[in-house]
């Protein structure tokens, strides 16, 4: 063996200290950047039925940097596109053609920073009438606490069930909750198999162990138990994995009839590659996240074909806004872009029908109305309808499948046009 020592032992002790200083220093630096403060007090404007204003303020808080930045930016694209479309069509006509003025805050991908971004956002200058955000459930939870205190409606595309279990009056969830998504991901798969003359008895559930992955996996597991299916593997993993080999080995060893996976883009791609490398041809049912993104197909090409995923809205039914998105950004409109655009349409329609400059008044109307304009019409069922807890009672999950490298809505038959293809047939 060669000798390669670069340092002497005497230097080591000094360096040891230096190293610790360095470690502590970084930790400090990292926490400090996350701490900023601001008193969150939001004085609401005067509500009145006959309001003519130049503009209505809409805020958005999204993870624009950090590990979920892509989803955050996609969401922002959808929001901006919706705002553009609404303003170009004359703004909020009942308010004298008021234009939507959008302001944006970066939640980063860190929950603590998201909350402080929200606080700052609501405390400086004139606060927005409503907020759209914050994409990830983990971020949305902390942001919702702030918006609730400030009495500003938060229109969210986060899935987590707990979001609507807090008794919040200013929180609105457009997509179906994780539990519904998990149940649908499970049951639709069983139904699709039955439709193809197959049966799914043994299932593997693998999920990224964050708020989103865990709540959806829990729903899957509950559903499997209820349906009397055997869960041969129920495995969480860190969303930061750099190698999916070990997890895939476990999947293959458990010999499932179907794989249910909750993953973001990087882990979904790593899983797919490792599954292929280990020769698996078991049908895959993804749980939104990475499985329905443009990057998924860009990374994997033909390998995506036949992969299923549950999602919140049918991508082959996005209509005008979907086409406009494709034209503007050169890729198909991702689910999060669409659903956030729907949130903007809900906001605009609420104001149109119930002109107000008061956030509380707006929140009240959001609970009352039904919203079916623009992108809100391409949410499942054709409209958005919130109950008193902020749940969109009309929300219904959709199963999509990659066919010829395009996402096609394939289940349930009453709300989609496409047909599922069983893998290998």
């Amino acid at each position: 063996m060669f000798n390669d020592a670069l340092t002497t032992s005497k230097q080591h002790s000094a360096r040891r200290v230096a190293w610790r200083v360095a470690a502590v220093g970084t930790a400090l630096a990292l926490t400090l950047t996350g701490c900023s403060s601001g008193g969150g007090d939001n004085s609401s404007g005067n509500g009145s039925k006959n309001v003519k204003v130049d503009e209505v303020r809409l805020g958005t808080i999204l993870p624009l940097t950090g590990s979920t930045a892509q989803n955050g930016n996609n969401s922002l694209h959808g929001i901006e596109l919706a705002v553009e479309q609404i303003n170009a069509a004359g703004g909020i006509k009942s308010m004298g053609g008021a234009k939507i003025k959008l302001s944006t805050a970066d939640a980063t991908s860190d929950a603590a920073k998201a909350a402080s971004a929200a606080t700052q956002f609501l405390s400086k200058g004139e606060p927005p009438l409503a907020i759209v955000g914050a994409y990830a459930s983990g971020l949305t939870i902390t942001v919702a606490r702030v918006t609730e205190r400030a009495k500003v409606p938060l229109l969210s595309t986060g899935f987590a069930d707990e979001l609507t279990h807090q008794g919040y009056k200013y929180f609105f969830q457009l997509p179906p909750a994780s539990s519904l998504m998990g149940a649908a991901q499970f049951n639709y798969a069983i139904d699709i198999a039955k439709d193809a003359g197959k049966s799914i008895d043994k299932v593997a559930i693998v999920y990224a162990n964050n708020a989103y992955g865990e709540s959806q996996a829990k729903a899957l597991k509950a559903q499997a138990d209820k349906a009397g299916k055997t869960v041969v593997l129920n495995e969480g993993y860190s969303p930061n994995i750099t190698d999916a080999g070990p997890i895939v080995s476990k999947i293959v060893a458990s010999k499932p009839d179907a794989i249910y996976s909750i993953a973001y883009v990087p882990d979904s791609v790593l899983l797919m590659r490792a599954l292929k490398a280990q020769g698996s041809d078991v049908p895959i049912f993804g749980g939104t996240g990475g499985y329905i993104t443009p990057d998924f197909v860009k990374a994997l090409g033909d390998q995506v074909n036949d992969v299923f995923s549950i999602t919140t809205s049918n991508p082959d039914g996005y209509g005008d806004i979907g086409a406009a998105y494709l034209k503007k950004y050169g890729e198909f409109m991702p689910q999060e872009a669409h659903d956030n655009a729907a949130a903007v349409y809900v906001f605009a329609q609420a104001l149109e029908e119930h002109p107000t400059t008061d956030s509380t008044d707006l929140a009240k109307y959001l609970h009352e109305g039904k919203f079916d304009q623009g992108a809100a019409a391409s949410m499942p069922g054709g409209f958005v309808d919130f109950d008193e807890t902020g749940v969109n009672v009309n929300a219904k999950p959709v199963m999509v499948q990659w066919q010829n490298k395009s996402l096609i809505g394939v289940w349930p038959a009453d709300i989609v046009k496409g047909k599922p293809v069983w893998p290998g047939q």
């Binding site: 000798n3 020592a5 670069l6 340092t7 002497t8």
Partner: protein, 235 residues
């Protein structure tokens, strides 16, 4: 020619340690600088090799202004410096330590030849050539430090207390080996607290006290001086 130092002022930060020092080492000379702890001897050598920046005066070697050079360019003039405390590379082998001394020697044959000469001078190093230098005894490490400096084939070799920490027998050996090097034409500038040894081997000597040269002359003269005998030779 040789090394000429005129009115050198040097020190650390705002503290001046050397106050207008002048001295010379002629070609082929063997000069010692003696003085008590803290007199400024090490500072003097560091100022010459450029690792401490001088603040005034001049240092010229064979017509080259040393103060205009960064430290790593001083050895290009064939000035070698054996620093205080040996400063060998503990986790390089003896061989690699010596070869590091020939970093500026681009000619492979010359390196091989000089290495042979160093091994002749210090046969012990040849025996230990593959050993990590940090595991050598103090005396052997001193040989590595001197041998490493010799690998440059210097015109001037500066040594900072080479006898420090050595047993009397080894001190004698070390000085005999240095005399051999000097005999081959290398000028020597020696800094020592060990005044007896220094005045025995050097041709000329300077006495330094608190950053000033207080006396100079041939070693013989200084050995005869009453003051020196009292203050430094303990007689």
């Amino acid at each position: 020619m040789g090394l000429e130092i005129t009115d050198l002022q040097s020190g650390y930060g705002n503290i001046e340690v050397l106050h207008k020092i002048s001295l010379a080492v002629d070609d082929g000379d063997y000069v010692a600088v003696v003085g008590a702890n803290g007199a400024g001897k090490t500072t003097l050598l560091k100022s010459i090799s450029g690792t401490v920046r001088a603040k005034g005066g001049s240092i010229v070697f064979n017509g080259n202004d040393l103060l205009a050079r960064p430290a790593h360019k001083v050895p290009q003039l064939l000035i070698a410096h054996v620093p205080e405390g040996r400063q060998i590379f503990p986790e390089l082998s003896v061989y690699d330590n010596l070869m590091a001394g020939a970093w500026l020697v681009k000619d492979k044959d010359q390196r091989a030849q000089t290495l042979g000469e160093v091994y002749d001078l210090f046969p012990r190093l040849k025996e230990r050539s593959g050993q990590m230098a940090g595991t050598l005894s103090g005396g052997e490490q001193q040989m590595v430090a001197v041998g490493r400096a010799l690998m440059l084939r210097p015109k001037l070799i500066m040594l900072d207390e080479p006898s420090q920490g050595l047993a009397p027998k080894l001190v004698t050996e070390m000085y005999q080996q240095l005399a051999e090097v000097h005999g081959l034409g290398t000028s020597v500038l020696l800094v020592e607290q060990n005044t007896t040894a220094a005045l025995k081997y050097a041709k000329r000597a300077y006495v330094m006290e608190q950053g000033r040269i207080t006396m100079s002359g041939s070693s013989e003269e200084l050995r005869g001086s009453e003051e020196i005998r009292k203050a430094y030779l303990g007689i």
